[in-house]
Symmetry: none
Subunit: 229 residues, 2 copies
């Protein structure tokens, strides 16, 4: 008999409405807490906890504990890919037409990394910051170095205010399209804010795409030592 891989276990993890709702919520790449996901799935925290532990054992998601908050994310882009391929063969919901389903997909993608930089620019930025030693990625919890604190401070980012936010300070956010981590979390959001404030980028109206200004090209080159193509 031929060696048949067993997809039934993984499929079983996806076959519960509560679990699939949580997984689809995680599709945007943003790590989310247990209660956040429980609300999405409209279930109690106890039930969510059970489901999330099952998903972790099945290696579909991974957990990172940050104080009393437990952040969950999809383990890798392959999981996102599998979920998206299941969405494709699932019948579109009754109320909406196929065209509207496409629009929903676009919306979901637009929500991706909605408050920090992704794409080529985000990755260049992340690489530059790591290369210059402002962030230490040697262990799993990324940490801002002393050099980094000085640099970001000079750049106009207020650390004290940032730390006070509940949100996880830095997290590597997987960009499904580029399959490379860039910088999300509070630091990512703060960087985006500051870069916008400096007029380095232009947000195109209601679009995910951003345009780097002439000022920005100069800025990225001078402060982060990479050139924008």
């Amino acid at each position: 008999m031929p060696s048949t891989p067993d997809i039934s276990h993984v499929a079983g993890l996806l076959s519960d409405p509560s679990r699939s709702a949580m997984l689809i919520s995680l599709l945007d790449g943003r790590p989310q807490t247990a209660t956040e996901l429980a609300q999405r799935a409209k279930i109690t925290p106890q039930t969510a906890s059970l489901h999330l532990s099952k998903l972790v054992s099945g290696h579909l998601i991974s957990k990172e504990v940050q104080g009393k908050y437990h952040y969950f994310r999809l383990t890798d882009p392959n999981v996102a890919h599998a979920i998206e391929s299941l969405i494709e063969i699932s019948p579109p919901s009754e109320i909406y037409s196929l065209r509207e389903a496409d629009e929903d997909n676009a919306l979901r993608k637009a929500r991706t990394c909605y408050d920090h930089l992704a794409g080529r620019l985000g990755i260049n930025l992340a690489e530059s910051i790591v290369r210059k030693g402002y962030i230490d990625i040697s262990n799993e919890n990324y940490r801002v170095t002393d050099d980094g604190k000085k640099f970001f401070g000079d750049f106009g980012i207020d650390f004290v205010k940032l730390k006070r936010r509940r949100r996880k300070f830095i997290h590597p956010c997987l960009d499904w399209s580029e399959r490379t981590p860039h910088i999300g979390g509070a630091l990512g959001a703060a960087l985006l804010d500051r870069i916008t404030e400096l007029g380095w980028i232009d947000k195109k109206a209601s679009q995910r795409a951003v345009r780097v200004t002439e000022l920005g090209k100069e800025g990225f080159h001078n402060h982060f030592e990479f050139s924008v193509d």
Copy 2:
């Protein structure tokens, strides 16, 4: 409020070991009868009938009755794609016997991914086509170049007929054994058809694995400039 797609029903259809075994058996694109599938899944015909009817209602497979035989097949390549993507995130199956190890090796070397080539052969083919500049992968929508149009035309692929189909022309399909994309979509299917027609490959016993013939070795070397292992 964004409409959340519901993948749990489809995933539920894939979450039963018997059903997933039958679906994986159908991955090669060959229509199979109910009893044939029952044997694959090691269940009684009654139980298989129940499962198959559920899969039909869920639009994962379609049935065609020919006399007393009921032939089942996957409804479309998207279903095959979803199954492959689940194989990708499933833990590799334990190899029990030597025979199963051989089978596994054969699948990794060369197999069909529903209607196009996958495994190392599929990837070699894809790499060759990209290297020789026949398709342009610089932006997200892969495109056949002018050089490519000429090449594929000379190779015996009718573009006009292909384009008329509604199906996506080139689909980068992720390979579970190599974790690298190969060429799916209408072009991938046409390539497999033509390569089969030319007698470059032989379908093996398990139906999903393929063997490259001597003619094929020569052909891949002359037309695509890679050698088959």
